[in-house]
């Protein structure tokens, strides 16, 4: 009787263990598979030309995506200029000043904004900038990415500020610091690494966005002549090249995918290291 019970218990345990293990393997394995696949297909076609040359016309081999790399950098710069100040200051307000009801509303709205599909945010930038100007522009693309950054920037800033112990605020105020002064001189510096990490992860997230760029910054076969002109960007290039019928373009798309992933991955790793360092100091 007892042994039968034990047997059943062991069987259930074995089944559950292998089931959860399998799912864990599937989750982690997907990333490893994507990384490996991109490495195999992307890395072999990667050369210095990819980083320094413009795309070649159809039928001509070689060339690179220098304009798309620069374009992505410009888009992210604008995104940062839009998303970081709004997100950071909004987060400071929510964490330090907002009343309960108002903060709840703002938090709810930012969560909603976070859930808005990226293509809808693209339409927003399209309506706001592209339509009145009657041409695609880098600024419109950057704005779309910037708006996408706001909700996460607000929430991550708020979270990291809230994580600063109340004892530090009180310590500063007990020395005569005003509320604002204690926030500026103690709370924000204490949360600095965390906030920066949040911004970097956020940036890495929007760096791979394609949909909102399709009808804002559009694309460009050449160097973008200015901030108000369309520009190439890595994710859009991947999309364009991958659906093209040309074999060498496919190869370029793999290479671009590999570069984009490496960029995002390295930003992620640097951000995690920054955060780990902070934890180590604060114990």
């Amino acid at each position: 009787m007892t042994s039968l019970h034990t047997l059943r218990r062991k069987a259930v345990n074995a089944v559950m263990l292998s089931l959860t293990g399998l799912c864990t393997f599937a989750a982690a394995g997907t990333l490893v598979f994507i990384l490996g696949y991109l490495f195999v297909h992307g890395a072999k076609d990667l050369s210095l030309d990819f980083f320094t040359k413009l795309p070649t016309p159809v039928g001509e081999t070689g060339g690179g995506m220098a304009n798309a790399i620069v374009g992505s950098a410009k888009l992210l710069l604008i995104a940062m200029l839009v998303g970081v100040p709004i997100g950071f200051l909004g987060g400071v307000y929510l964490a330090e000043f907002g009343g309960a009801t108002f903060s709840f509303l703002v938090r709810y709205v930012t969560d909603l904004l976070n859930g808005v599909p990226s293509i809808v945010i693209g339409i927003f930038a399209y309506t706001l900038i592209v339509l009145p100007q009657k041409h695609f522009s880098t600024i419109a693309g950057g704005l779309a990415l910037g708006v996408m950054m706001i909700p996460i920037a607000v929430r991550s800033t708020e979270e990291f500020l809230r994580a600063v112990p109340a004892s530090l605020r009180e310590g500063a105020m007990a020395l005569g610091a005003s509320r604002t002064k204690s926030i500026l001189t103690v709370v924000i510096p204490a949360a600095k690494n965390g906030i920066m990490t949040g911004i970097m992860l956020n940036l890495a997230r929007v760096a791979g966005e394609t949909a909102p760029l399709l009808f804002t910054s559009f694309s460009n076969r050449f160097w973008s002549p200015g901030w108000e002109q369309p520009t190439a960007a890595l994710p859009v290039m991947i999309f364009t090249y991958a659906i093209s019928p040309y074999e060498d373009w496919h190869q370029q798309a793999w290479a671009a995918g590999f570069v984009l992933l490496m960029l995002v991955l390295s930003v992620n790793i640097i951000a995690r290291l920054l955060l780990a360092k902070r934890k180590h100091v604060a114990r």
Binding site: P165, S167, L168, R169, E170, G171, A172, M173, A174, L175, G176, A177, S178, R179, K181, T185, V186, P189, A190, V281, A282, R283
Partner: protein
């Protein structure tokens, strides 16, 4: 045990008033001028009344200890003395507290907190260097006119907190590298840097080992010359060792306030006797 020396000294110099209402300024010598006096102080957290009509006089250059079980309001009372409770939402205070005869609500709050310094239960150094921790109060209060003055003031504060010799070679290192006892003394140095007239200590030794505790207690004796000290403590031996006066709090009321020897040897109230003899709490 180091309790004997200060205790006997205390017995000699103390005015030994009989109860809180009799603690008038007229009784004492010039050494026992009133630094802080609270009258009918009530404090509410939302609908909960944490303090009920506290009246008490705190004498200059004396150590006053508050004892009582957890949640009895002694820390809350301490935090009304530098108006730190105001930062907590949904609180209300009424009654008066006078600092040198002036209502603390008429003193600009940053000025009040500069004059009435505070050290907390858990050491709370800022995530900055040792130097910057001590310099913080001087900087935000505009008390450091130049670099040399600042260095001098920081060194002096660290010396007063008996920490200088241990940290003088690593002033630019993070304060988090110090031990718990050193961190607490750093917080004392930080509070001393702005030359407070009163130092509020909120269970400063509760997280420290006996050796670190002894160091802080030694420090309290030295600081008495330049500061009025108010200390909240859970440790009755500590109150007996360091304090000239002791107040016993229970359920938001000040049950008894008197010279420390009276409180511990001959308390007037039954509750006080029960508590100090360990019958409850």
């Amino acid at each position: 045990m180091q309790a004997s020396a200060p205790k006997s000294q205390m017995e000699l110099t103390m005015p030994t008033p009989t109860n809180s209402s009799a603690l008038g300024a007229s009784e004492g010598t010039s050494a026992s001028t009133i630094k802080l006096s609270a009258t009918d102080l009530n404090f509410h957290y939302g609908s909960f009344q944490a303090l009920h009509g506290i009246s008490m006089k705190i004498y200059a250059n004396r150590v006053t200890a508050f004892i009582g079980p957890s949640g009895c309001g002694k820390s809350t009372f301490l935090r009304t003395l530098n108006r730190l409770n105001e930062a907590v939402r949904n609180t209300r205070v009424d009654g008066t507290v006078l600092l040198d005869g002036q209502d603390i609500h008429d003193i600009e709050v940053s000025e009040l907190r500069r004059r009435v310094g505070m050290v907390f239960q858990r050491s709370n150094p800022f995530p900055k260097s040792i130097f910057e921790n001590v310099a913080y109060g001087l900087r935000i209060n505009g008390m450091a006119s130049n670099r040399a003055r600042l260095r001098e003031a920081v060194e002096q504060s660290l010396r007063r907190a008996a920490l200088w010799d241990e940290v003088k070679d690593k002033l630019n290192q993070s304060a988090y590298g110090l031990s718990g006892g050193q961190q607490q003394r750093l917080c004392i140095a930080r509070a001393l840097a702005v030359n407070p007239e009163v130092l509020l200590l909120d269970e400063p030794c509760s997280a420290l080992d006996p050796i670190a505790t002894a160091k802080i207690e030694d420090l309290i004796f030295q600081l008495k010359d330049s500061c009025t000290i108010v200390i909240v403590t859970h440790n009755m031996q500590q109150a007996a060792r360091v304090a000239d006066f002791t107040g016993f709090f229970l359920l938001g009321r000040l049950i008894e306030f008197d010279g420390t020897t009276v409180i511990f040897k001959n308390p007037a109230k039954k509750e006080t006797e029960d508590y100090v003899t360990g019958r409850f709490g």
